[in-house]
């Protein structure tokens, strides 16, 4: 099908600067610095101010941080998601291939930020909580480690995950009119980790007092962690289109137009598009 259809849109080379590392670097660098600072905060105040829930220091340094997080996260999510929606492309069917390709680069930067946040939330700070459980006998559900893990790092990847989905559905024809199954798994599973904290906290309070990591109260997290594998499906959907756009923009190969992709996004998932231009 791809071979028989030709585009009606104009061909123009995108600016080289449209694919700069700056976009990726800003996201990645900002997140890295932010998480480093969070780690510094934990090092400074977890032992010195975070051992007694009933103390005044705890309210100031930890419960204060928790409330700040809630407010900042709500504002960030509303602002980011709202901005992405308000500035949506209302004429996606007339999108030029060059512009579409540069949008995939921005999208890839958001997905990378999401994946990095998933790593930090699900791997780094989750196992970090394991060692904190073995260092204190806790007197609250809101331990310093939980305030960072559950109520900071989890919401951050939820914000990035939903943002990447909104970006894709408002700017990329492939994802605009149909719901992608792997994308729903990729974004939805980690979101469901957040409600699973309810089971976890109930379990630690009423069920397993000791820190048995493999106890059933934790299995929901593992189940939702599987969703990370769905990044393969999302990649398999996007990569053929990205390669087809590169073939078209730089080598003039035929390609499905944006309006055709809107009607049948499945047609863009042919892995044969991924071969180098010389073979395609």
């Amino acid at each position: 099908m791809l071979q028989t259809e030709t585009t009606t849109t104009g061909v123009g080379l995108p600016e080289k600067s449209a694919f700069s590392w700056r976009k990726v670097g800003v996201f990645f660098g900002a997140l890295t610095v932010f998480y480093l600072l969070i780690n510094v905060y934990l090092r400074l105040f977890a032992f010195s101010k975070g051992l007694d829930y009933t103390s005044q220091d705890y309210s100031t340094y930890w419960m204060g941080m928790l409330l700040t997080e809630f407010v900042v996260e709500a504002i960030t999510a509303a602002a980011l998601w709202g901005w992405l929606w308000i500035t949506r492309d209302r004429a996606l069917d007339r999108l030029t291939p060059a512009e579409e390709l540069t949008r995939y680069w921005a999208w890839a930067a958001i997905v990378l930020s999401y994946a990095f946040s998933v790593y930090v939330g699900a791997s780094f700070f989750t196992e970090q909580d394991g060692t904190w459980h073995n260092t204190v006998v806790r007197d609250t559900d809101f331990t310093p480690s939980h305030i960072v893990e559950f109520y900071l790092t989890f919401p951050i990847y939820i914000i990035f995950g939903v943002a990447s989905l909104i970006y894709a559905m408002t700017r990329l024809p492939q994802f605009a009119t149909r719901i992608s199954l792997p994308y729903v798994i990729l974004i939805g599973s980690p979101i469901m980790i957040m409600p699973n904290i309810g089971l976890n906290e109930f379990g630690h309070t009423r069920w397993f007092m000791e820190e048995l990591f493999v106890a059933p109260l934790h299995w929901g997290f593992a189940f939702f962690g599987w969703g990370g594998l769905a990044i393969f499906g999302v990649g398999l959907q996007a990569c053929p289109r990205i390669m087809a756009l590169i073939h078209h923009v730089y080598y003039g190969k035929p390609i499905l137009s944006a309006s055709e992709v809107l009607k049948d996004p499945t047609g863009t998932c042919d892995p044969a598009c991924c071969y180098p231009a010389s073979e395609a």
Partner: protein, 254 residues
């Protein structure tokens, strides 16, 4: 613009996408695999005194062949990349070491000798090579899965053997691993919580590790199959669902 310049630009753009997509995939795999491993097999991975010869070599291989099988299903069938298992185990080990070093040791001061993780690298390389040489996932499940279970204990033995040297401590026989557990206080992990071999009236003392390895190899074969299928047909699916509006419009037109 010269054709060669255009060609170079196209290749540069494709290469940049490669890097970002590979990095995203790796990080998502680390997050997913580590949270899975931590919450189904984590306790044996955290502590040297949990690394016994009965439960550790059963639980770890069975539950950690999951992501490698699913990743192989995508990377091998779609890209002919024979690195699915290895990249998963690399990611897991990266996630674990970042934590054990920075947090377990760096923050709460448990010695690394106590909290170093298990390795699956040798078994993962074997699993990948079996798939690459046979090109057949059923054969990989049967032979690779079997080797996955058998190889686990031998390839980790070099790391844990020094901690099994016996010592007499206050009149009792203990291994070095037990003494480490005894000395470095964990507030929420009492000794009775450990799920380690305690002996039964039906077991023959010398055969524990071998029997455990064979059993875990058998179950690893059984685990490989559903996880390959999930990787190939569920997580690696390229299906799009119609939205309500699109589906309704289709019905109207037909």
């Amino acid at each position: 613009m010269q054709y060669s310049q255009v060609d170079a630009e196209a290749k540069a753009v494709a290469r940049k996408f490669d890097i970002v997509i590979i990095a995203s995939t790796f990080l998502a795999l680390v997050g997913g695999f580590h949270v899975h491993q931590m919450l189904v097999a984590g306790d044996w991975s955290f502590w040297i005194d949990w690394k016994d010869r009965n439960w550790w070599p059963i639980v770890a291989p069975i539950l950690e062949i999951t992501f490698p099988a699913a990743t192989q299903a995508v990377l091998w069938t779609r890209f002919r990349m024979p690195i699915g298992a290895t990249i998963c185990c690399l990611g897991l080990l990266f996630g674990e070491w970042m934590n054990r070093y920075i947090n377990f040791w760096g923050w709460t001061h448990y010695p690394l000798n106590m909290v170093f993780p298990e390795t699956f690298f040798p078994a993962a390389v074997v699993l990948d090579v079996v798939l690459m040489l046979t090109g057949n996932w059923v054969v990989t499940a049967l032979i690779g899965g079997e080797l996955w279970g058998w190889l686990f204990y031998p390839t980790n033995w070099v790391m844990i053997a020094p901690f099994h040297v016996p010592v007499e401590y206050q009149g009792s026989l203990m291994s070095v691993a037990d003494v480490i557990n005894y000395m470095y206080v964990r507030t929420s992990t009492p000794e009775y919580l450990r799920i380690v071999e305690t002996g039964t009236m039906r077991s023959f003392a010398g055969g524990v590790t071998g029997v455990a390895a064979f059993f875990s190899a058998f179950v690893s074969v059984c685990m490989y199959v559903p996880w390959w299928l999930m990787g190939a047909h569920f997580f690696g699916s390229t299906k799009f669902f119609k939205t309500y509006d699109a589906a309704t419009a289709d019905v109207r037109h037909s």
